[in-house]
């Protein structure tokens, strides 16, 4: 379980995270929703230790990642995989090399085993053999996300953080990626934390939904509870009302 306690971070005098408190339950899919630029990705980067907060804690099974250093931090990071918004694939490596990369770097598995596992993961995200030798800049947006998902899954992490996994994809591809996330989640049982503003698709895959607004979590609950939430900011977001009506 991940417990976030009073997490705060200010950039240039602007409090992006202002006392976040949230629990992400083990083995569940939790989705964080909120407007663009509200700090959802910043929150994810604090959870995996890429950014350090001004105040607060991120407890992974009781261990605070914000205070961890050296081998402790490395051990904590090894429990995670992170799917970046743009995939963050290594542009000098082919699709196959990208997916095999964590195994080649972090394990001493024989090459035959690495090849077999990589092919298995590529098949799991419905990528054919033809794309194996392509470079990331030869792929479509949807393919890049699937390669990034395969790279995340090959690490067999306990927790996967998804930063806007379907942004910029067309509706069929959005459904494909969400379907892949649910399918792999069911198969591997990892804890998933997804940052997204894709309403209503996320209600179909989430166990819990949290809404981030002005640096705080203003609503948390099951998809049904969130949809019934009376907070006008939540309803405004879910209904997709134009921003000027909020004024």
């Amino acid at each position: 379980m991940i417990r976030i306690v009073d997490l705060s971070r200010t950039f240039n005098g602007h409090a992006v995270l202002d006392g976040i408190n949230l629990e992400i339950l083990q083995g569940e899919i939790t989705v964080i929703i909120g407007k663009s630029g509200v700090g959802k990705s910043v929150l994810l980067k604090h959870i995996i230790g890429l950014l350090k907060p001004d105040r607060g804690q991120v407890l992974i099974e009781g261990q605070d990642i914000t205070k961890a250093r050296g081998a402790d931090l490395k051990a904590l990071k090894q429990r995670f995989a992170y799917l970046f918004q743009n995939g963050a694939l290594f542009d000098s490596l082919t699709v196959f090399e990208n997916v095999a990369f964590p195994l080649r770097e972090k394990t001493k598995l024989p090459e035959a085993e690495i090849i077999s596992r990589t092919k298995e993961r590529l098949a799991q995200v419905a990528l054919s053999q033809e794309v194996e030798n392509k470079y990331p800049d030869e792929l479509s947006g949807g393919m890049k996300k699937r390669v990034a998902l395969a790279r995340a899954l090959i690490q067999e992490p306990e927790i996967i953080l998804f930063d806007e996994p379907v942004t910029g994809l067309d509706p069929p591809m959005t459904n494909t990626v969400f379907h892949l996330i649910t399918k792999t989640h069911q198969a591997s049982g990892y804890t998933a934390l997804i940052v997204s503003h894709d309403i209503p698709e996320i209600f179909g895959i989430a166990d819990h939904v949290a809404m981030l607004h002005k640096g705080r979590i203003i609503a948390y609950g099951s998809p049904d509870e969130i949809q019934r939430e009376t907070n006008p900011v939540v309803q405004h977001f879910i209904q997709g009302e134009p921003d000027f009506l909020e004024e």
Binding site: L50, A75, Y82, F84, N86, E105, K106
Partner: protein, 256 residues
């Protein structure tokens, strides 16, 4: 007036802070060389990129530099009837000064700028963050091999530059202008001392380290998209050139 002084103070402080950050960056990168995984393959790959792929431009500039030295030296020395000293003039100029400095400037323009662009793009496309999330230290994976390779490649390229330059001077001075081959080489052997050669090696080591440090640092801390990469690349070439020339003066004053 007070505002001017304040501005000057602020800029000086920022410069000192930047220099401090660069030194810590260098110490971290060098320290990671001694911590596993040692990444010999990455170092060899970078040696190929910085060293082997710079060799053609080094051969070309070395040859022309030596030829110009031969030409200029011949007409200057002829005024004093000392054409025989051409070999020592060419060799000393190359080994002490022109070899290390021009090699460093060439490497900075060819490899330094490319390294900044490469690391800068990795930064803005979150590839460095991706390494970090996989518990792979991006400093060790990306920066350390480049700094070590630069440290090894620049002295070797300098040696190539010097040898080719000496033969370029020979071509112009001996083959074209008729200086005796014996006096060209014997003058060189008599006048070039081990201190000159060692001084040149020390200079090229310092220059190699400086270029790679600037290139990696500027790339690593690139911000604000494509414009940021472009700015960082320009800064690498300019700052490397200024630092190389500055270091050259300081080191020369030690070795003279």
């Amino acid at each position: 007036m007070i505002n001017l002084i304040r501005q000057l103070g602020r800029q000086t402080l920022s410069l000192v802070q930047e220099a401090g950050r660069m030194q810590l960056f260098l110490l971290e990168a060098l320290g990671l060389f001694f911590i596993p995984p040692y990444r010999p393959r990455s170092i060899i790959k970078q040696l190929q990129f910085i060293g082997v792929r710079s060799s053609s431009i080094i051969l070309l500039t070395g040859a022309f530099t030596g030829m110009v030295l031969g030409l200029q030296g011949f007409y200057t020395l002829r005024k004093y009837g000392s054409e025989g000293a051409l070999g020592s003039a060419v060799a000393l100029s190359l080994v002490r000064e022109l070899g290390p400095v021009l090699t460093a400037l060439m490497v900075s323009g060819r490899a330094g700028s490319a390294i900044t662009a490469e690391i800068g793009i990795m930064r803005i496309t979150e590839q460095l963050d991706a390494l970090d999330t996989m518990a792979i230290n991006p400093m060790q994976y990306v920066v350390m091999p480049k700094i070590i390779a630069g440290l090894l490649a620049v002295p070797l390229l300098t040696a190539i530059f010097n040898v080719i330059g000496i033969w370029g001077g020979y071509l112009v001075g001996v083959v074209l202008l008729g200086v005796s081959s014996g006096s060209y080489f014997s003058g060189m052997v008599q006048s070039v001392e081990s201190l000159d050669v060692n001084g040149g090696i020390v200079k090229s080591l310092v220059f190699g380290l400086t270029i790679m440090l600037v290139a990696c640092y500027k790339g690593y801390y690139t911000a604000r998209g494509a414009e940021g990469v472009s700015r960082a690349t320009t800064q690498t070439v300019v700052l490397s050139a200024v630092l190389v020339l500055g270091w050259d003066y300081i080191l020369t004053s030690f070795f003279m």
